[in-house]
Symmetry: C2
Subunit: 122 residues, 2 copies
């Protein structure tokens, strides 16, 4: 079976504590599967997406799925991300790089967020 | 029982489609409870938080819980939001305004995001 990496793509922020849930998410995924899981950021944090893709390609991944860890799909996900992914595809023509829809568009994720909100007003 | 509103606080974006999951989330919450649920944004979209709080106060809410719909807790959640909430408290001293932790810090939310990521690589 070919090695298939996951890259969790987030916005990035100045405060390093901002990345904590992304690290926890990566940890959960690593515990669930024996294949590479890494983080990448649009700005303010490193690595950026081209570096993260290069690392997974160097580890031998033949497929990489980029998951945008954003709630909404605005300019970052609809415009910036496809441009960066296209650069990555050109840099690594042997790697099948796909891009998921933003996690916040998933109904089960929204259900979990709704449950969290309801717990705040009990 | 006192009327208790929820305000879902997001960053905001230029692309109106960015707000779709926030609208869906508000819809889920409205379907679950008969009390006010509204959206508010830090920038680029309206209403802002002071306007959303003023609306819920005008509807008779005696308590309002602001839920930051952010993954990470960076400067927006740790610094900007408490300042805006403090302004809102001063403007509406009769309303008990509380602020939840960012939704992305919740373990069940992260579990749902992890499940979504795993479904992308099946």
């Amino acid at each position: 079976m070919k090695k298939h990496g996951i890259i969790l793509f987030g916005h990035g922020a100045r405060d390093p504590r901002w990345a904590e849930p992304f690290e926890r998410l990566a940890g959960k995924l690593r515990a669930s599967r024996g294949e590479p899981v890494s983080l990448a950021f649009l700005e303010l944090m490193s690595p950026n997406l081209p570096s993260a893709v290069a690392s997974q390609a160097a580890e031998g991944c033949e497929a990489i799925t980029v998951v945008p860890v954003f709630f909404g799909q605005g300019g970052h996900v609809r415009k910036d991300l496809p441009e960066i992914v296209e650069q990555c595809r050109q840099a690594h023509p042997g790697v099948a790089i796909s891009c998921a829809t933003a996690v916040g568009e998933d109904d089960a994720v929204l259900d979990a967020v709704a449950e969290y909100c309801l717990r705040q007003v009990l």
